[in-house]
Assembly symmetry: C2
DNA sequence: GGATGTGAAGTAGTTCACAGCC
DNA sequence: GGCTGTGAACTACTTCACATCC
């Protein structure tokens, strides 16, 4: 592996959260047939300064061209590498209600490097139906071995589902249920809560000048990710 | 001026993003009939240190009791105030597909201070049906005056919908479509992108020790909002 | 000329450590 | 005893400014 060195670099959390944004921008340029992009353009679209973009990208190795910017195909490639998109992780989704359907049908959710392995639900009406090209399986059975498990069930059954995923030897969980779940040491849980962004918006509305009243065209809030210890 | 509420205090962005998490934890304690909670407990459940919790809460005024912690009802109240939950903002949702339905039916999305005003869709099959107690209106008509507009349509029509919301004098937009939209100065747009959290998870999987490989019980990531390309 | 990449400076956020109070 | 609230120290992140290279 000649590219092993890229793995070794440790990127800061804010940087990691911005890379997917840059990548989407680069993909847009690529679709439009543009071959180059510079840090100022990325910054404007991403809502951050050009300097921040350059710092972030410098962390992936120096692949920009002075005077010309970044080649979009290379940019895409480097970000994909950095984020582990060359890996093809299997993703299982549990809970095929509105949210689960929205996710698996989204052009956006399953990006390169993540592939849908299986869908599970407990509702007999849903089991056996086809969603996003997959037959929904009963939750009662065995869960496929996969890398990432996504929980889209109501909060009341989130913990039960988490336990099941853990039993299936899944060590990375993305939890969309508004419910704190506990898992054994060595398993990662990330929580996604779309009400938080609404609440942040409300805070700023309520307080006049935030990052938005300030007259900016748009504001960018970045994921804060952290961890806790438990039982 | 000092009679005014805690409004005046300016909270840091990371603090604002954590408050909704603390609030959910406090609500959980309240439901379980517990009257007090301390910073260490909140920290463990939220995935941050006890010191961070105390700093954050100190920003809302000193309402803890030394030796005993925080009274959950007071804690809830203070956070609600700080986030502007006493305001009752009207929220309109455009795009009643899977995602729109998931949002409006979620116990979680519409929190105190935000109330659903109207739902819109362009699909004749959907218009006129009842969702979450509201009759879905045609997007072709006039959009109700509201405080916050939520976009849940496919990326290709996101800009068009944004224009319409702006015309309806809405100055705060929450965009779930993976598409950068441009709005006039003075309008705030927050982006929610649930693939980002998955990508962060993948990065850490790929790199072994992240905030998760470190052997922690679980990590807490907060929904990311971001920005991508436009036009 | 024009844009990257990066030391140096500046700013924001977190953690330490402990005084203060219950 | 226990836990809050906070100055002080520390760490992380961002921005400035410019040397560097195409």
């Amino acid at each position: 592996m000649s590219t092993a060195r890229l793995r070794a670099r440790k990127l800061s959390e804010p940087t990691i959260a911005r890379l997917p944004v840059y990548q989407r921008i680069a993909e847009g340029f690529e679709r439009r047939g543009l071959s180059h992009i510079d840090s100022r353009q990325i910054g404007e679209l991403a809502g951050v300064t050009a300097t921040t973009v350059r710092r972030d990208l410098a962390g992936l190795g120096s692949f920009g061209t002075r005077g010309a910017g970044y080649e979009v195909s290379v940019l895409n490639e480097r970000i994909a590498e950095a984020l582990g998109h060359d890996r093809n992780y299997d993703v299982v989704v549990v809970g095929i209600g509105n949210l689960g359907r929205a996710l698996v049908n989204s052009s956006n959710f399953l990006i390169r490097g993540a592939q849908l392995a299986d869908l599970y639900d407990s509702d007999p009406e849903v089991i056996g139906t086809e969603v996003a090209g997959h037959i929904v399986k009963p939750l009662s059975g065995e869960v496929t071995r996969a890398t990432v498990g996504v929980i889209c069930v109501p909060p009341s059954s989130a913990q039960e589902v988490a336990d099941r995923l853990v039993r299936a030897d899944i060590h990375a969980i993305l939890n969309f249920a508004p419910q704190v779940i506990t898992v054994p040491l060595g398993t990662a849980v990330h929580y996604v809560d779309f009400s938080i962004e609404l609440q942040i918006l409300m805070y700023h509305l309520n307080n006049g000048t935030g990052p938005l009243g300030g007259g900016l065209l748009h504001s960018l809030g970045i994921a804060a990710s952290s961890q806790s210890r438990g039982t």
